[in-house]
């Protein structure tokens, strides 16, 4: 059964095209990572799937219906931005309040225990640390016993220990048959949790594959050198020039350097760096369309 689906979903904000004919299926029981740099359209896609926004074109389905119909959201859990938690309310009160919207909420003590918040039930959320607040925000996605949770950047900015706690909670939910769609701009996070990765860049789906397949695609190195004369070399995914400085993106930096030497290229100031995920994405994106201005994501 498909719990969430986008069919040719397109979303514009004025002149900005945030999502461009995106197709996505999230079947029951899967843990899908939505990976992409900031501004790629990840949050826009989640907002369409949960009914906060309407697609400009195409359509989105949640449990087979329109996500703007509240009944469709009964088995879905979403995480608020932790900066928005009502600061004067106590942790337990926030859990009770959100739980009151669902027919069979998880009891407060049980939920707080699962997310390591049991001792904080009587604390006002304004007095929590950033990590505690984030854990509470993620916990709220699970209070209604959802079958599907949508998590937007669940662990961004958390320390290692807090991240592990959350990852464990998400894994346990998935192991019990729950379905997860989470966004991240860390490949590491998606690798730790997901089996399937959907890469989004500039509003389009660039890749939809297993974690290891995506790892192979985005694991690029940047080889930079200064030279006047560069022959065409194998293993080069992309060439960027900055005056006499040349940057080569490659999947095999060792072989590329050997080839440079063998070809007798006169170069100096050789530099080999790992690429950021963002650079790797831009490379994939550049294959599918000319690189134009960054697409900002409206909040």
């Amino acid at each position: 059964m498909i719990l969430a689906r986008a069919e040719q979903a397109t979303r514009r904000y004025g002149d900005v095209l945030a999502l461009d004919q995106v197709d996505l299926d999230v079947p029951a029981g899967e843990l899908v990572g939505l990976l992409g740099p900031n501004g790629a359209g990840k949050s826009t896609l989640l907002n369409l799937l949960i009914g906060l926004r309407r697609p400009t074109g195409g359509r989105v389905l949640l449990f087979g219906g329109d996500p703007r119909d509240p009944a469709r959201r009964r088995q879905v859990g979403v995480t608020p931005q932790e900066t928005g938690l009502p600061g004067t309310l106590r942790v337990g009160e926030v859990v009770d309040f959100v739980g009151a919207h669902f027919p069979d909420p998880v009891p407060r003590a049980e939920l707080l225990d699962r997310f390591g918040l049991a001792d904080l039930a009587r604390r006002q959320t304004g007095g929590l640390s950033g990590g505690q607040r984030r854990r509470l925000a993620v916990a709220l996605a699970f209070v209604g016993r959802p079958r599907l949770v949508l998590l937007d950047e669940p662990t961004t900015g958390l320390d290692v220990e807090a991240r592990r706690t959350l990852w464990d909670a998400i894994r346990d939910f998935h192991a019990d048959g729950g379905t997860v769609l989470l966004t991240s701009h860390y490949l590491e996070e998606v690798e730790a949790l997901a089996q399937r990765v959907v890469v989004i860049g500039q509003g389009r789906v660039l890749a939809d594959d297993t974690v290891s397949a995506i790892r192979g695609v985005v694991d690029l190195r940047r080889v930079s050198l200064t030279t006047d004369d560069l022959p065409t070399l194998p293993h080069v995914v992309r060439v960027e020039r900055d005056r006499d400085r040349v940057h080569l993106l490659t999947g095999d930096a060792d072989q590329l350097v050997r080839d440079l030497v063998t070809a007798g290229v006169a170069f100096r100031d050789l530099e080999v760096r790992p690429t950021s995920l963002e650079e790797a994405f831009l490379t994939i994106t550049a294959d599918s369309r000319p690189a134009d201005a960054d697409v900002p994501t409206p909040a």
Binding site: V76, P80, L89
Partner: protein, 245 residues
């Protein structure tokens, strides 16, 4: 309804946790009672009763315009607001809950005025008059709630604070809330019937005493309610369209 009560409870908890907010809406009317009503007409039963009713209207005006105008504008700026829309209920319970909580807070802000009137002045009304006045408070809340909602949905919070203040004072003075019936300066007597505060205070006067409301004020109160409902509805839909379409 159970969702609306959950929202009302949540709103009240938020308000109660910041007691100064409750204090603020109760302070002005209570201070006005102590400084103007008690010394001026405290020992005149009829005068004190009318003045108390006017101060009650004043409190209803300030409580509603400020709590909705500023409260709604501030909530709209919080990411918590879109989160609530992802929960499996529509926008109605939240709205009803907000109005219920607002009404509770309004009645709460009236307590000091009523206590001061009962203990320190000769203001008197019958049990029926008191019950009628309590009911009139709910009716009188309608236009000012709508006004607050219109401000809150139309403006960002910093602008909402200013506009609420700008609107509040002329309405209070211009509607004759600071004068006894028929005792306001001539130009205020002229414009008062065209302001919603006048119709509101005349309803209160009618409830507690031997007062007959002016037809003009009553008709204008109706006109204001319709106009403000239209304005609030427009501001709400415009905000929805901007943030959630």
């Amino acid at each position: 309804m159970q969702y609306a009560l959950a929202h009302a409870r949540y709103q009240l908890l938020e308000i109660v946790r910041t007691p100064v907010a409750v204090f603020g809406s109760a302070f002005f009317p209570a201070a006005a009672m102590l400084f103007f009503v008690v010394p001026a007409v405290g020992d005149n039963a009829v005068g004190a009763t009318y003045a108390t009713a006017a101060m009650v209207t004043f409190a209803v005006l300030s409580a509603n315009v400020f709590q909705y105008g500023i409260g709604v504008a501030e909530d709209r700026a919080q990411p918590w607001d879109p989160y609530l829309r992802t929960l499996p209920v529509g926008p109605t319970p939240r709205f009803v809950g907000r109005v219920l909580a607002g009404l509770c807070l309004t009645y709460l802000s009236l307590l000091p005025v009523v206590l001061i009137a009962a203990l320190l002045t000769e203001a008197r009304t019958t049990v029926a008059g008191f019950a009628l006045a309590a009911a009139a408070v709910a009716v009188v809340s309608v236009p000012f709630t709508l006004m607050g909602l219109a401000i809150g949905y139309a403006l960002p919070s910093k602008a909402a604070i200013v506009v609420a203040q700008l609107v509040f004072f002329p309405l209070a003075v211009g509607g004759g809330l600071l004068s006894a019936p028929g005792q306001a300066p001539a130009f205020i007597e002229t414009i008062a019937p065209f302001l919603p505060t006048r119709g509101a205070v005349e309803l209160m006067w009618t409830a507690v005493g031997d007062f007959r409301p002016e037809p003009t004020s009553m008709v204008m109160l109706g006109v204001w309610i319709v106009a403000l409902a239209g304005l609030a509805g427009w501001a709400y839909r415009r905000d929805e369209g901007r943030r959630f379409s």
